[in-house]
């Protein structure tokens, strides 16, 4: 029984010379490198996986000693809990619903986030930075991802810690049990501000809003096209336009949040059908 056959699949033999040869299209990533340094999955990888699984189980077991799955009172259509907070991963969405109309914040924007994420690999033409952590070689891509991620997490933090009764803004030091008076300044669509400032008619005010909205997208697309020509050349027209649309929309979300929080502006673009 002890005479068991133990052999490697490719035994190294000092009398022979070996070469690994493969034909590839494109420039080969593996040039002048040693044959790959591989190990058996059993037991090397499997052990890591089992250890991870055990750690996760232990972590969960420890966690549920301190925190239990919540259960509120029986469903009751006539009373909404105050404040009604979604689970943390939807709080970003709930917070965005404060700044935009539901058709945008609830449907179109999540759709755009999903599609935008899916398109990322097709829009990122930078071939560098595969297989290792790097910031310097792909600054712009990392910036984009981090910016979207930051919006998501900042809105989650706002929803968790800065929103209280009646979904009003509460600072950590204000009394969270007292109903605040609603802000005296109501939210105003941008065109009414123009009407007030420049004494123009409402239609002209709306036109200003439309011009600002369209101008933001138009200039935001055209200026980088001229200033960063190599980037535009590398991407090509359609890829660039798609990217620019998603990029400007993302920046627009941040801008709108700032406009709303600082200047109480409800809408920028006002049309009979949609308001943004």
């Amino acid at each position: 029984m002890d005479e068991k056959v133990t052999r490697e699949i490719f035994p190294r033999d000092s009398r022979k010379s070996y070469g690994l040869v493969e034909l590839m299209k494109k420039t080969a990533p593996i040039v002048k490198k040693e044959p790959e340094d591989t190990v058996y999955v059993w037991p090397n990888l499997l052990m890591i996986e089992i250890i991870c699984a055990i750690l996760v189980t232990v972590g969960l077991m420890v966690l549920i000693q301190f925190e239990h799955a919540p259960l509120r009172s029986l469903a009751d259509p006539s009373t909404t809990p105050n404040p009604m907070r979604a689970p943390w991963y939807f709080l970003g969405l709930q917070e965005l619903l404060v700044y935009f109309d539901p058709w945008y914040a609830g449907v179109v924007l999540p759709g755009m986030i999903i599609v935008g994420l899916m398109l990322f690999p097709y829009l990122d033409v930078n071939p560098k930075g595969v297989g290792y952590y790097t910031y310097s070689e792909r600054k712009f891509a990392v910036f984009n991802y981090s910016f979207g991620f930051a919006i998501w997490w900042i809105t989650i933090i706002i929803g968790t810690y800065l929103r209280g009764l009646d979904w009003q803004w509460y600072w950590p030091w204000s009394n969270h049990l007292e109903h605040m008076n609603p802000a005296l300044v109501t939210l105003v669509p941008l065109h009414l501000i123009f009407v007030n400032w420049f004494h123009v008619s409402e239609g002209v005010g709306k036109l200003f809003g439309d011009i600002i909205f369209i101008g933001y997208f138009a200039l935001g697309t055209i200026i980088p096209m001229i200033v960063w020509k190599p980037m535009y050349k590398a991407m090509g027209l359609w890829r660039y336009l798609t990217f620019s649309f998603f990029f400007l929309s993302m920046m627009g979300v941040a801008l709108k949040i700032v406009l709303r929080l600082l200047f109480n502006i409800k809408y920028v673009l006002v049309t009979p059908w949609i308001n943004i």
Partner: protein
């Protein structure tokens, strides 16, 4: 003595008929152990040593998968006591919480594994992003990953109607109402009413099976949460892993 028992087992006809190889203490059997097992053969027989570096992957994808397995198992346990009926659902959860042995454990595990899965899907995605692992030829697998992310979120959303408590009711009311704002096909969406969509024929009605969150909505969400979405996730997971094998691991050479 132990060695002898082990040998008896490993060399027996039953063991051989199941595993078709000896105990994996030599390279040949280690290879067999992986590629002759339906469960293990999502792995290659050998991996690059660098692919095992924890500081590259942090095992985030693996942890996500493991949490999904925990969710499936605890979910099945919970199903033994749960009735998707508005008059009973809440009481069933109370029973699980206070009466049934281990009920609370299963519920807590299910809930926190769900939180964990959302968190780890995000972390895994961030890791894949930061290492550029989505670039050619792995673009499509990134897309599959995004589909899995969306499915994870929808799974948790459908899951929280089931206890039929206040959080359940209002989260789903708000979520379904959001669907009614879908442009073109929602009663409240831009151009929805103009195209003839009413509370009784739009996408929100289709989702809830009624005009308000009620019995039809509960049973719909139950079926989605327990059957349809887990199935979809499993299928996409299979594609996800298959593509990892086909496209190769992205790690350092």
């Amino acid at each position: 003595m132990l060695q002898k028992i082990k040998n008896e087992i490993v060399e027996s006809q039953i063991f051989k008929s199941v595993f078709r190889h000896g105990y994996p203490d030599n390279d040949l059997d280690r290879a067999y152990a992986i590629f002759s097992s339906v469960f293990l053969h999502i792995h290659p027989v050998k991996v690059r040593r660098s692919a095992l570096r924890m500081r590259y992957t942090f095992c985030l994808g693996g942890i996500t998968l493991f949490l999904f397995i925990i969710l499936a198992v605890t979910g099945i346990w919970l199903m033994f006591y749960y009735t998707p009926y508005t008059g009973l659902a809440y009481r069933n959860i109370k029973d699980l919480q206070f009466v049934i042995f281990g009920g609370n454990l299963m519920r807590d595990l299910h809930r926190f594994a769900a939180h964990g899965m959302v968190l780890f899907v995000w972390l895994h995605m961030t890791r894949v992003f930061l290492t550029g692992a989505y670039k050619a030829p792995r673009e499509f697998n990134w897309v599959v990953g995004v589909v899995l992310l969306v499915n994870t979120l929808v799974l948790s959303w459908t899951g929280y109607l089931l206890p039929w408590d206040q959080l359940a009711y209002w989260a789903v009311t708000v979520g379904a109402k959001m669907a009614s704002y879908t442009p073109l096909i929602g009663q409240n969406g831009p151009w929805g009413p103009q195209l003839g969509f009413l509370p009784t024929n739009d996408i929100m009605f289709m989702l809830l099976g009624g005009t308000v969150v009620g019995q039809n909505a509960l049973i719909r969400f139950y079926v989605l949460h327990c059957v349809v979405l887990p199935l979809v996730v499993t299928v996409f997971l299979a594609v996800h892993f298959w593509r990892i094998r086909k496209d190769g691991f992205s790690g350092p050479l």
